[in-house]
């Protein structure tokens, strides 16, 4: 059954990923991304990582893609972009190289590791043992990785404050320009 679930979810994830790249309409692309994220959540469930699955949906599908949609809707999606012009020269060649490189790394990792593609569940069960997912993650986060955790929190806070400061500056300089033009 594990394998069957994996195959179905992998198909959903891949179809969603293709949809993100190929969809003409940005909103359809964002919805395909949601499909991919849901497929990944079920894959996490399949590996007994319940908490990760829930967080995947709450954070990625529930917050991040909603934010994407917000931006897309507010900017308007009626304008079709001209695909024949590259915004940055050499962008497509670079993207192809980076994509192929990442794919190669992933394949190399799968081939070299002794996990194998279809027996990962036994491994996660061994790790999770008798405690719940939540306790495992909390134990790891607040003991071994506490500095990394706190540093990430600080980084996020700084980026939020930075974003607010920058957006306020820009709005102000725009207004100043407008008043200057009016005068």
């Amino acid at each position: 059954m594990e394998t069957a679930v994996f195959i179905v979810c992998a198909a959903i994830v891949l179809a969603g990923a293709l949809g993100v790249v190929l969809a003409r309409n940005p909103v359809h692309a964002a919805l395909s991304l949601v499909g991919t994220l849901f497929g990944m959540a079920v894959l996490f469930l399949n590996l007994e990582a319940h908490f990760l699955a829930a967080v995947q949906i709450i954070v990625y599908a529930g917050a991040i893609v909603v934010l994407f949609l917000f931006v897309i809707m507010l900017l308007g999606v009626d304008r079709l972009e001209d695909l024949s012009v590259e915004p940055i020269t050499g962008q497509r060649v670079l993207a192809a190289i980076v994509g192929l490189g990442t794919f190669g790394l992933a394949v190399a990792f799968l081939v070299n590791s002794d996990i194998g593609a279809f027996h990962t569940k036994e491994l996660t069960l061994e790790v999770s043992g008798q405690y719940s997912n939540l306790r495992q993650i909390a134990d790891a986060l607040f003991t071994d990785y506490v500095y990394a955790f706190e540093a990430t929190a600080a980084l996020l806070t700084i980026s939020v404050v930075g974003a607010v400061v920058m957006s306020r500056r820009m709005a102000r300089s725009d207004e100043a320009q407008e008043t200057a033009e009016d005068d």
Binding site: E2, V27, F51, A54, I57, G62, L69, S132, N133, R172
Partner: protein
């Protein structure tokens, strides 16, 4: 799956004792039965709820309300449903057809799924919530996943898509404005919802809804275990999350025609209507589960599972009436008031309360004086709150002195 070999990890199907002995035909049938009963129960409940709301509101407004279809007009919803079903289904010319058709289901399905984790009955005083169904031990809930209550948060965040995409795909400006408004509101209040929930999780020590209810048996309800405030915050945030009055800015008729579903008609409109009321029922059920001990209560019947179901029903009705009462009495909030309430009051308050509860618990674990720990925690919070208030006041004064923001 190879037949005869038990699954290595039973938790894929949740913690329900039904699945501990492997999954055969009987287990599948019982699960399907539970799903069917939950579905039927919700549909009938929605039908009665719409009638109940109309009747109660008309009573409060000194009117009679629906009184023609069936005794006391109880079949009015059915009549309305049939009428909507046979109306012409219009799809606007400028709409995004695929998304337009998808959106109502994105509203409806999460509302159903949330109900799956609500324990509607069972004897929690000694039996750990187990009941015997066709000779198998099981819980009176469709599923008990280990992440339990997180599923509720996940589904309420998925429900945002229904509203958002409905507004956008209509290809019309009022629905778009309403949906941007609504999704901003729902995303903002999700934070307060989650933080007040965290207080419950701190006390219960588990995410599973069955465990949360078991911890509250029989009179150990989270309402007083978490000292009332989280429940008040949860109720306010839930009302905003449901887009119910006084937070129903999605449907502000005077400004937005009809809200995000202006362009919807016929059965698709009925689906949104259904989802709205279903969400109200499931959210009330979640409040009962989290704060009022779910089916817990003194056993007064000879049949084991009956009193639990009855208690659950009584508590559920309390909240359903509460929501109707709010709608009948409170005027709508202004949008900036809504955002101020959510971000500047509810989120800091629920976070602070969580920290006070945590300090109380830690003091107990370490053998410190609990009262002293709480007082110190409260003093620190008060200092931080006054700093925040000072900063807000300074910012406001500066804005008033320099409205263009030129001299920063």
């Amino acid at each position: 799956m190879i037949v005869g070999v038990p699954l290595p990890g039973p938790t894929v199907f949740g913690l329900d004792p039904l699945y501990t002995g492997g999954v055969g035909l009987a287990e599948v049938l019982i699960t399907l039965f539970k799903v069917g009963v939950a579905f039927a129960l919700l549909m009938v409940a929605v039908m009665l709820m719409i009638w109940f709301e109309r009747k109660v509101i008309s009573d409060m407004q000194n009117r009679i309300g629906p009184n023609l279809a069936g005794p006391f007009g109880i079949l009015q919803t059915l009549a309305d449903g049939i009428k909507l079903f046979f109306k012409e289904d219009l799809i606007p010319e400028k709409s995004d057809r695929l998304v337009f058709k998808l959106a109502p289901y994105l509203s409806l399905v999460p509302a159903f799924l949330v109900f799956a984790v609500v324990p509607v009955g069972g004897n929690f005083s000694g039996g750990n919530g187990r009941v015997s169904l066709f000779g198998h031990e099981t819980f009176l809930q469709v599923a008990d996943p280990p992440v339990g209550i997180l599923l509720v948060l996940a589904m309420s965040s998925v429900a945002v898509y229904g509203v958002m995409l409905a507004g956008w795909s209509s290809g019309s400006k009022y629905p778009l404005l309403a949906s941007v408004r609504a999704s901003a509101q729902m995303v903002s209040y999700e934070a307060a919802l989650g933080l007040s929930l965290a207080a419950v999780l701190l006390k219960s020590g588990s995410l599973s809804t069955n465990q949360i209810v078991s911890e509250q048996s029989v009179w150990n309800w989270n309402l007083w275990v978490t000292w009332v405030v989280p429940m008040v915050i949860f109720l306010i945030a839930a009302t905003a999350e449901l887009n119910r009055p006084p937070f129903d800015l999605v449907e502000a008729e005077q400004e937005l025609v009809g809200g995000f579903h202006t362009e919807y008609s016929s059965i698709r409109f009925a689906l949104f209507y259904l989802a709205e009321f279903m969400n109200m029922i499931t959210m009330s059920a979640i409040v009962v589960t989290l704060f009022l001990g779910g089916p817990n209560g003194p056993d007064f019947t000879s049949v084991g599972w009956l009193s639990g179901v009855l208690w659950f029903f009584v508590k559920l009705m309390l909240f359903l009436f509460f929501f109707v009462w709010l709608r009948a009495t409170l005027p709508r909030f202004r949008y900036d008031q809504l955002m101020d309430l959510g971000w500047k009051l509810l989120i800091p308050l629920s976070l602070g309360w969580l920290l006070v509860l945590a300090s109380y618990d830690v003091a107990g674990d370490r053998g410190w004086n609990r009262a002293a720990a709480v007082i110190v925690a409260l003093a620190i919070m008060a200092a931080l709150a006054s700093l925040l208030a000072l900063a807000l006041r300074a910012a406001r004064q500066r804005r008033e002195l320099d409205p263009q923001g030129e001299f920063v």
